[in-house]
Amino acid sequence: MEHHGERTQWREAYERSSAAHSRAATQSGLEVDPVYGVDNGEFPGVFPYTRGIHPAMYRSRLWTMRMFAGFGTAPQTNERFRQIIDAGGTGLSTAYDMPTLLGIDSDDERALGEVGRCGVAIDTIDDVADLYDGIDLGAVTTSMTINAPAAVIFAMFVANAEDHGVRREALGGTLQNDILKEYQAQHEYVFPPRPSLRLVRDTMEFATRDMPRWHPLSVSGYHIREAGSTAAQEVAFTLANGFAYVELARHAGLATDQFAPQLSFFFNAHIDFFEEIAKYRSARRLWATWMRDVYGALEERSWQLRFHAQTAGVSLTAQQPDNNHARTAIEALAAVLGGAQSLHTNSFDEAWTLPSADAARVALRTQQVIAYETNVTHVADPLGGSWYVESLTDRLFDEASGLLEEIREMGQGSMLEGCLHAIENGWFEGHIADAAYAFESAVQRGEQIIVGVNSFLDTDSAPTPVNQTDAASEWSQRDRLSRVRRERSAAEVRERLEDVRRMARDPNTNLVPALMAAARSHATVGEMMSTMAEVFGRYRAPTR
């Protein structure tokens, strides 16, 4: 392993950081350095960033406490957003309901029973206006967890912000927009992969040109892990997708160093504490190495892997739900010791239901305890140099590198083609399903203990209180949509959708402006998606 980081390089970067003159001490008064290490070893803020992307890590900037929320109608979710901000949350992240995620309107027959159930229902720009009502979009960064209709929701968001006097240049936030992992793990796809990638390209191009504070793509391993992958697979598949998008942007004529700094990542924070910390370290080392040596990026920011983390939903148990507080706290601590830039902590009731307001507040408080009471923020990469963590980091790096090479070989040297090929033949899904099966088999055999599920059972455990989403929200959302349909100009909607169709046919056009115009005409998500589906077709998963 070639290590470029040295204390002198770190020192120079540290002196330039906002934490240059910071001092920190333990609770008992022992003064501590911003980082510990051997002079010729790796250092944070220095290539290959195994130990973190900033020289002073959390001394210079704490992670963003970005809580994921969404349920019912836009006004209901807006109220939750305000509660999160009032409780000290520093970022917002929107959860959409299943129909929205699949580009289906709330009044569509297929949406029956699903409107506002797993997230907020968004049909038109009017809902977007309600969602962010009273929230300063120039000050709070917002993240949108949406993929197949990402370009449509993004267009609605930008159009709404501009209509409310916020320039697009001022907008900060993240669009998940990672369609590749939908075919691999999460299954919220609409169009086939290639036309979907064209929409990713269009949003990436639009943001790179006009929105310097925006992350148009959050390459997500979270869902791959939740679907059952191992830690090494999570790193490898996510980074493979990341490199695929790098190749996509290059085909679109964007210079690597122009858009790579706007890429961000999203990883799981699972329950195997040291493996997770090693996972983030290995992912940073891999990304930096490949971006510099394989993709020829020249800028430091192109080499740095920035990531959001979320504690593992699958690790939560419906049995003895109070135990989930402990799981989430341990997982959150792993993300912080692993150098996350942003974090969502799950609520203890999420094995059953969407989180209640009280449960979501405790989840946020868990982050605040870690940030402000434990002093783990004083020292960057405090586990660097641990023989165990360094060994795990090296082994995950090696295993993930092997998988990356395998995917690239499937594409005969192209990671993009390799990913598409491996999607078509079910390679990703097969690997993930095998790992999930192995894990569950171990649980069933009692080799893997899960407290409260296969060991340490209680006989007197009370049923979890369920935060029922209001069935009335579904009807009120349908009413709202029918009102918007009545009040808008049908002729204008038709014209704007016709523009979308025409632009969709020309692969060299950027669709975002046409989608923004359609959004302003109050066209629905479903109308825009169906119009594009007529040109792009719909994806059918390979049968296995």
Binding site: M98, P99, L101, L102, I104, R110, A111, L112, G113, E114, R117, C118, Q186, H187, E188, E226, A227, G228, V314, T317, A318, Q319, A351, W352, T353, L354, A433, A436, Y437, E440, S441, Q444, I450, V453, N454, P463, T464, V466, T469, A541, T543
Partner: protein
């Protein structure tokens, strides 16, 4: 005789970790398992159940839409003349179990249910439905 099981996903719910795992575990236990794939409608599930002549239908649902979708599937099955018992696996709060049973569901398997319990229940249901 080998038990034939149809495992189905209805509605917009794309969560398939559970369904993939249970399909394999039931096969390991010697059952014949047919999996519909994602995004099925109640009518398409009923058609598959009849075409495949299954003994039990298992619905996997984690989206919270079970109270709307499950009764539609049961009704579609019965309309097609399929009497196979229906079981549900996934995220179903205790408070919703009674409503599902009233809609004709024979058993509900929440998260963390032991495989041995699932296998025993399916076998008992099959025996009960053929006598």
């Amino acid at each position: 005789m080998t038990l034939r099981v149809l495992i189905a996903k209805v509605g917009l719910d794309g969560h398939d970790r559970g369904v993939n795992v249970i399909t394999r575990l039931l096969r390991d236990a010697g059952m014949e398992v047919i999996y519909t794939g994602l995004f099925q409608s109640p009518a398409s599930v009923a058609r598959s159940a009849v075409d495949e002549d299954v003994d039990v239908v298992g619905l996997s649902i984690l989206s919270g839409a079970h109270l709307t979708l499950v009764p539609l599937v049961v009704a579609a099955l019965r309309a097609e003349g399929c009497d196979a018992p229906v079981v549900v696996g996934g995220i179903v709060p205790d408070s919703d179990v009674a409503a599902l049973r009233a809609a004709g569901v024979a058993a509900v398997f929440g998260p963390g249910t032991a495989l041995t319990h699932i296998i025993e229940t399916l076998e008992e249901l099959h025996v009960a439905s053929t006598h």
